[in-house]
């Protein structure tokens, strides 16, 4: 966009950027605040980061978050990969399958979370880690599916024909040609699914069961007792991890080959 041509383009952009990022900057800044009261600045310190490292409930929440995110992202990526390969050739109901797969992007999460809770309770499924991994897997699938699908669409079928022509059967072709070409898309999908799971509050909150917390659930319960610099520090760490991972996935998705 040429700022010469449209008046106030620069001002508008700056305003939107500020609107989006000032809260984040404030959060990060206060996470380095020495004062016990989160909203009063005294001087810079790394105390709070030190504390969250040794706080056992934060450690266990972080561990749970990590276990759930890794398991759910792995399962979602495998399912998304299979789905992407299956919907590659158009078949009857192919469009519908894709729509169903991507449903979690549109459905209100609160409704799905409540529905899942009701289902699990009525089926007698024990709430906790297993239930959370299952639910997270479901809503992570579209996040894993979209980059894989985009990558797959970008791979010309001629490469696979060339592999067949050079005596590789279907399995060998998948292993030696399709999968290596698809790999950046799979990694990008996994990373997005991982971040989505790590970030999730609603579903985790409903399905956690007694005594089990994830980081977002911990932050929510801690904040009811008042905003502390510790919370700023955890949030800042999560923010940085998420930004790094999403950037990584973006980079992988655009990787030439």
């Amino acid at each position: 966009m040429n700022p010469q041509r449209f008046p106030f383009t620069r001002e508008t952009s700056l305003f939107v950027l500020a609107y989006l990022y000032v809260p984040v900057v404030v959060l990060i800044a206060y996470s380095f605040n020495a004062n016990r009261t989160a909203t009063v600045w005294t001087h810079a310190s790394l105390d709070w980061y030190g504390r969250i490292l040794v706080n056992p409930s934060i450690q266990s929440a972080a561990w749970n978050s990590l276990v759930i995110a890794v398991s759910a992202a792995t399962a979602a990526t495998v399912l998304a990969l299979l789905a992407a390969l299956a919907t590659r050739r158009a078949f009857l109901g192919c469009g519908a399958s894709e729509a169903i797969l991507n449903m979690p992007l549109i459905l209100p999460e609160i409704a799905v979370a409540v529905a899942t809770l009701l289902l699990f309770v009525s089926l007698g499924v024990k709430l906790g880690l297993g239930a959370m991994v299952a639910a997270h897997t479901a809503f992570c699938i579209p996040f894993a599916y979209l980059p894989i699908r985009a990558r797959l669409d970008g791979i010309s079928g001629t490469y696979e024909e060339a592999a067949h022509d050079l005596y590789a059967n279907r399995f060998r072709t998948f292993r030696r040609v399709t999968m290596p070409l698809l790999w950046p898309g799979v990694m990008a999908g996994f990373t997005l699914a991982f971040v989505t799971s790590l970030d999730d509050f609603l579903t985790s909150f409903f399905l956690a069961g007694p005594g089990l917390t994830t980081l977002p659930v911990y932050i929510f319960s801690a904040i009811r007792a008042g905003i502390t610099p510790e919370i700023n520090a955890i949030s800042a760490v999560m923010l940085v991890v998420s930004v790094l991972l999403v950037s990584l996935s973006f980079f992988l998705g655009r990787l030439r080959r």
Binding site: S156, E161, A162, A163, D165, L166, N169, R256, R257
Partner: protein, 355 residues
């Protein structure tokens, strides 16, 4: 050329292929039959969309025929998947694996065939040397020019020593100069490697230059098949005559017992056993200039172009239509533009074709 004792390199029997279903069905190949001899350079020539690629893909095994049979060196491969057919393809887009180096690309088929490591290294080295790509072995395809990718694609397809090499317009992505160079190289390569080449092109000049035999295709059928000279000099269809080289086509009606009455009323003496509407075809270099009033036809000179080795005259016929005449001795006196001349059309140079 075909040996009577051994079966042909490729034999195609009554192959038909349609795409789409029901009312959308579209017949791309219609009862195609042909035999390609061992070590032959055979070319499928035809305009874009006539079914050349489809025929090649049927032989490679990427498509299955609706009916008919395909065999390679006497073995019926009609039902075999591409990875069980002793043919290799040079794709129009080259289709080099972007994640593998040049050397890994060339080794791919050999590895799939379970060849020993040392033998693979040796064979890859030879194939790359033959294409003068030895110093690029460690590069990725994206780091090569179009011409270099072309060589790697050839090396990759030749390394497993296929019975037949299928080439789908392999030179069409190259610029003219490189294209001419690669044409000569391809021809030499084929003679050296002693492999049957099935070459696809829509460029008639390329087809005539390279091939032992050419099959001219139109709308999913083979119209004429033969050595380049035969195709050029004795076309059997109006389409073939028109598609290959410059030619003059004069419409008329066949007279019983020989001769053709042109639309202007002139009667040409041309041997034929046709009847009804016909076209008389004559190449620009086979017609001769004659003094006005002599010759079979009268014409007016519109324009003359000096080509160095010849003069090309563009003439207007009185009944409408233009006539091209190539005067092979440019030092001969040339008629002025606007002057009236006669055209001598030797009977043996005339081809009478059905319309």
């Amino acid at each position: 050329m075909t040996q009577a004792s051994s079966p042909p390199a490729v034999s195609i029997r009554n192959v038909a292929k349609s795409f789409g279903k029901g009312i959308y069905a579209f017949r791309v190949l219609d009862d195609v039959s042909l035999d390609i001899g061992r070590r032959e350079f055979f070319t499928l020539l035809g305009p874009s969309g006539c079914g050349k690629t489809t025929l090649l893909r049927l032989i490679a095994g990427f498509e299955t025929a609706d009916s008919g049979a395909i065999s390679i060196e006497g073995e019926d491969v009609t039902a075999r998947p591409p990875f069980h057919r002793p043919v290799n393809t040079v794709f129009q887009s080259y289709a080099l694996f972007p994640h593998l180096t040049v050397e890994q690309n060339v080794a791919f088929a050999l590895e799939e065939q379970g060849m020993a490591r040392d033998a693979i290294r040796k064979r890859v080295g030879e194939a790359l040397e033959m294409m003068r790509m030895g110093s690029f072995a460690k590069r990725k395809p994206a780091e090569l020019s179009g011409g270099q990718q072309q060589r790697v694609a050839l090396a990759r397809a030749l390394a497993p020593r296929p019975r037949v090499l299928l080439l789908d317009e392999p030179l069409s992505a190259l610029d003219l100069k490189l294209r001419k160079e690669m044409q000569i190289e391809l021809k030499m390569l084929q003679e050296e490697a002693g492999i049957t080449f099935l070459f696809v092109t829509h460029d008639q000049e390329e087809a005539l230059t390279l091939s032992d035999r050419v099959a001219v295709m139109q709308s999913g059928r083979i119209l004429q098949m033969g050595p380049p000279r035969e195709i050029y000099e004795t076309p059997t269809h109006r389409f073939v005559a028109d598609f290959i080289g410059d030619i003059n086509l004069l419409d008329g009606e066949a007279l019983p017992g020989g001769g053709v009455r042109l639309e202007g009323g002139t009667v040409l003496s041309a041997p034929h056993n046709a009847s009804g509407k016909v076209t008389v075809a004559i190449r620009p270099e086979r017609a001769r200039l004659a003094p006005a009033g002599e010759g079979a036809l009268e014409a007016t000179v519109v324009h003359s172009a000096y080509l160095g080795t010849a003069m090309l005259h563009k003439l207007d016929l009185p009944g409408g239509g233009t006539f091209l005449l190539r005067q092979s001795d440019p030092t001969e006196a040339a008629p002025e533009a606007g002057s009236r001349v006669g055209l001598a059309l030797p009977a043996e140079a005339l081809r009478v074709l059905d319309r």
